[in-house]
Amino acid sequence: MTSRRAGFDVRILIAGLLGLYGVVLTLVGVTDSEADLAKADGLRVNLWIGIALLVVAAAFGLWARLRPLTAEHAAPGPDEGGDGTGR
């Protein structure tokens, strides 16, 4: 069953957004200037939070892939239109 048929899996949404945020932060973190680092008391927060977000995103993506929602577990998508219990 494809994820579209099964409706909306919030885990994929979490993985997508946090993954994008993770990529952006990691890139910013690699190129942080001295001034940026000084502001954060010398800590590379962008880099580490970026990596952490990528890990969390990967974990949610993996979870959604290994244990996909069945139709009855999903919020209704537009092509089912019902109460989410119909297959």
């Binding site: 909306f8 919030v10 949404l13 979490i14 957004l17 946090l18 994008l20 945020y21 952006v24 932060l25 910013v28 973190g29 942080d32 940026d36 680092l37 502001k39 954060a40 008391d41 010398g42 800590l43 927060v45 962008n46 939070i49 970026g50 952490a52 977000l53 969390v56 009855e72 577990h73 999903a74 919020a75 209704p76 998508g77 537009p78 089912e80 239109g81 109460d83 989410g84 219990t85």
Partner: protein, 559 residues
């Protein structure tokens, strides 16, 4: 707060991505889901982990963050009481004891339960009180949102409040409630990703937990007390004595908030079966236990990092998180923290406004004011109510702006609205004799008692540190006692009126009170089934309670 946030292109990008995603989800789900009732309840199909996540996300709004940090700065370590004492036991109670009534009776709201358990007068009273409460709470959210907008563009507060109101109106119209709910789950992670670097940098600045403790001890020893110094009549704890803490906060306010707050309870009702619904608040209790790390701890660290915090001429306690963001977050995580806060205020206010809208239209206007019109009429009435509620909350936002710590104001509102409701619920669920009119008069007198307590507390030396009435009153302690007073008056009046009026016949109370199960309930078969221990609400609840107790004991001995 001085100056504006130093935003970069990357921060605006992260912000824009989030709101584009929320609005897209809103449009996508709106095609299938027509009402909030559909979204929350139809299907009753969600596994416990989704509802548990939605439950904690609904609670970890921006008010929790701004207010939790404000509490950490104002009351020190004692602010953990709002989590370990004021939330965890009540969340476990909701899951273990109360949820079967809500889930199995198939009610959609607290008001609906009251209508079935009592009468339409009680229903109307509760609906009006609820509508007022939502507008007050929306005002708090709006004020907090304006604080952030003011930071962004540096406009004066009143202009920021009006601008925020327009934003919220657009957000609700475009994204809809469904978008807001998915947003809530997303924003939980976004907020954490923004808070963790704040805590990390702040702790690094003050020299870790040891540095934090030593620094705070240098300012005021009392700010390290959690249960120490809570003797009645001679308290030195920042949150007053143990009676107010244990009874007012731990029992009445906490249980009142968590068990009758339908914004929370609704999340559990979307669960696929009764057991999953009962586990929902208990699963949420585990992350709740750890939240002081990202709220109270930065609040305490801010005392050491921000000069003149909470004093005349300095930033207010509400400014803790925005101040720390401005000072320490580099572009990138700054955008994420900002996104999380903005999203949380928007979603919080959207929830208040839609709560008001639903109750006003379907619990007040349709049954009692203008009856028997077409669906289209009530849909339009709801739209007018939405705009009116947002306009009204601009006014209540200015009331909220008078409080230097919005948590003090919130707890006061809860003592008015939730404490009497909780007393009435407790009696209604466990004593089948309670009569319809006892429900009405009990709640009315309980609310009046909370108001009376609020206006009296300022004149009693009991609530002032060291009994010195020239100092500032301990506002939270007064809230705790006010809540307790409202509860006691509600119980006394309810019992007294019950003894002189006629109860409902038992046939009308099936499924609504303890000991009278509804034999036709679709969940009846489930009650007899044994669950493995890791799915047992009682076992999970006991685990989280023991962990919380251990943390509390550790904190008393460790500092």
């Amino acid at each position: 707060m001085t100056g504006t946030l130093d935003l970069d292109l990357v921060d605006w990008f992260l912000l824009a991505v989030y709101f584009a995603a929320i609005i897209a989800i809103g449009v996508y789900t709106k095609r299938a889901v027509t009402t909030s009732g559909d979204f929350f309840l139809a299907g009753r199909s969600m596994p416990a982990w989704i509802t548990g996540l939605a439950f904690i996300s609904a609670n970890l709004g921006a008010l929790e963050i701004i207010g939790g940090a404000a509490n950490g700065a104002q009351y020190g370590a004692a602010a953990v009481h709002f989590y370990w004492l004021g939330a965890i036991p009540a969340m476990v109670f909701l899951g273990v004891v109360m949820m079967p009534f809500y889930y199995s009776s198939r009610v959609h709201s607290v008001s609906e339960y009251l209508r079935r358990r009592f009468n339409s007068q009680t229903h109307l009273l509760n609906s009006v009180v609820f509508a007022v409460a939502q507008v007050m709470l929306a005002g708090v959210n709006l004020f907090a949102l304006a604080l952030i907008i003011k930071l962004l563009i540096g406009w004066p507060l009143w202009l920021s409040i009006v601008l925020s109101a327009v934003f919220v109106l657009v957000y609700i119209t475009l994204g809809g409630l469904a978008g807001a709910i998915y947003g809530e789950v997303l924003q939980f992670f976004v907020i954490l990703a923004g808070l963790v670097p704040i805590v990390w940098i702040a702790l690094h600045m003050v020299g870790g937990f040891d540095g934090l403790r030593d620094g705070i001890a240098g300012i005021d020893d009392n700010l390290l007390k959690t249960w120490q110094g809570t003797e009645v009549g001679g308290w030195s704890n920042p949150l007053g004595d143990w009676i107010g803490l244990a009874m007012g906060e731990g029992f009445v306010l906490a249980f009142g908030y968590w068990t009758t707050n339908f914004a929370e309870v609704q999340r559990s009702l979307a669960a696929k079966d009764l057991n999953a619904a009962r586990r929902t608040p208990i699963i949420a209790a585990f992350p709740k236990m750890l939240l002081p790390l990202v709220t109270v701890v930065p609040g305490m660290a801010a005392l050491l990092l921000i000069p003149q915090l909470g004093q005349d001429g300095g930033p207010t306690y509400n400014d803790v998180i925005p101040e720390l963001m401005q000072r320490y977050l580099p572009n990138g995580v700054l955008g994420i923290a900002l996104t999380g806060l903005l999203a949380a205020f928007m979603a919080g206010m959207a929830a208040n406004i839609s709560g008001f809208n639903t109750v006003f239209t379907y619990d007040i206007w349709r049954p009692y004011v203008v009856k028997g019109r077409s669906d289209r009429y009530y849909l339009n009435a709801g739209r007018v109510a939405t705009v009116a509620a947002i306009a009204l909350s601009v006014g209540t936002a200015f009331i909220a702006s008078n409080y230097s710590n919005i948590q003090n104001y919130l707890q006061m509102l809860f003592s008015f609205f939730n404490s009497p409701l909780f007393a009435t619920f407790l009696l209604a669920m466990f004593w089948r004799r309670v009569t319809p009119w006892a429900g009405f008069w009990g709640m009315l007198s309980g609310t009046a008692a909370a108001a009376a307590a609020h206006f009296t507390a300022g004149h009693l030396a009991f609530f002032y540190p060291g009994g010195d009435m020239s100092a500032e009153m301990n506002a939270q302690m007064a809230n705790f006692y006010g809540a307790g007073f409202a509860f006691v008056v509600d119980v006394i009046v309810t019992v007294a009126v019950t003894l002189f009026t006629r109860p409902k016949p038992e046939s009308e109370l099936r499924g609504l009170v303890w000991g009278l199960p509804d034999p036709d309930s679709p969940d009846a078969h489930e009650a007899g089934r044994r669950q493995p221990w890791w799915r047992s609400p009682v076992v999970l609840g006991s685990v989280v309670l023991v962990c919380t107790l251990a943390l509390s004991v550790w904190l008393v001995t460790a500092v």
